[in-house]
Assembly symmetry: C2
Homo-oligomer: 154 residues x 2
DNA sequence: TATTGTTATACTCTATAACTATA
DNA sequence: TATAGTTATAGAGTATAACAATA
């Protein structure tokens, strides 16, 4: 009779020949860094950086977001949002509009120029998913996407 | 009779009520940012930042690594490695040793003080995996870990 | 009193280029 | 010529604190 292969350790210190730390948090930090670097490079021809792109996407999806919402959703400090929206507004890609209910808040809304810019840049961002995830097949990507969604919502 | 729930779209533009873009690259960037922020906060009492911690871990696992190896494995620019190793050396946590074969390279080796510091800090880093991944059960974490490993190796 | 947006500041990180010493 | 390490520098990102307007 054949002895069953030993159960793999659920959290081995080193895995699969990867020489670095294999803790999930480390791997996430590393993968995230890769993404930002690549994304910045891909977006450069379109005059956007990853953070500006995120804000532009998010403001475009809804009719308008308060800067506070953008800050919370994107995990960027409110003062960082101000700087990013300043940049985008200077280029005419978003407008700050007065909010009806609360005169403290200012709604960030995407302009037509912003939507055009987004349409130009989007393929570059989608291409990133392709090149970065080349090691994974479609079902694996979907699994990864769902797991990450649950992490990021928090 | 109950109608079966509709099959979920394998790659919907928006998913599960999450307000942001649900592209994997975006989610990775976001999760990675969270990790680095949390990790830096957890490590602060131990006088380490996430990059210093990574280098310390990596140098401790083996008998010594060239700075070039550290640079490639951690995805940090060689000039960044110099700065980090300078910091660690100043605190006596690592030493730079001459390499036998190649007099250009310098091996980064962890000192006893470095190993002690690592032992102090490690629980904080492991705690991160716990708090950050609270939404996922053990098998899910293992799936995520393996997928990320394949992404990061590249 | 608490919150939204804003400004200011210091520090860390990233990206590049140039330089040196060795190979 | 090419590679390992180093230095210098500019720009981007992060973290904090303080402030004015408004709730």
């Amino acid at each position: 009779m054949s002895t069953p292969p030993p159960k793999t350790d659920p959290s081995p210190p080193e895995a699969a020949g990867f020489p670095g730390p294999s803790q999930i948090s480390y791997l996430l930090a590393r993968a995230g860094g890769q993404v930002v670097r690549h994304l910045n490079r891909e977006l450069q021809p379109h005059g956007l950086r990853s953070r500006h792109y995120s804000v532009l996407v998010l403001a475009a999806v809804s009719v308008g977001r308060t800067q506070r919402e953008l800050s919370i959703t994107l995990g960027i400090d409110p003062s960082g949002i101000v700087a990013i929206v300043d940049d985008l507004e200077r280029e005419g890609l978003v407008r700050r509009e007065a909010s009806v209910g609360d005169r403290r808040t200012r709604l960030v809304v995407t302009t037509d120029a912003g939507r055009r810019r987004l349409a130009e840049a989007e393929p570059a961002a989608r291409r990133l998913d392709e090149t970065l995830l080349v090691a994974l097949d479609d079902p694996e990507r979907e699994v990864l996407r769902r797991l990450l969604l649950r992490l990021v919502v928090d």
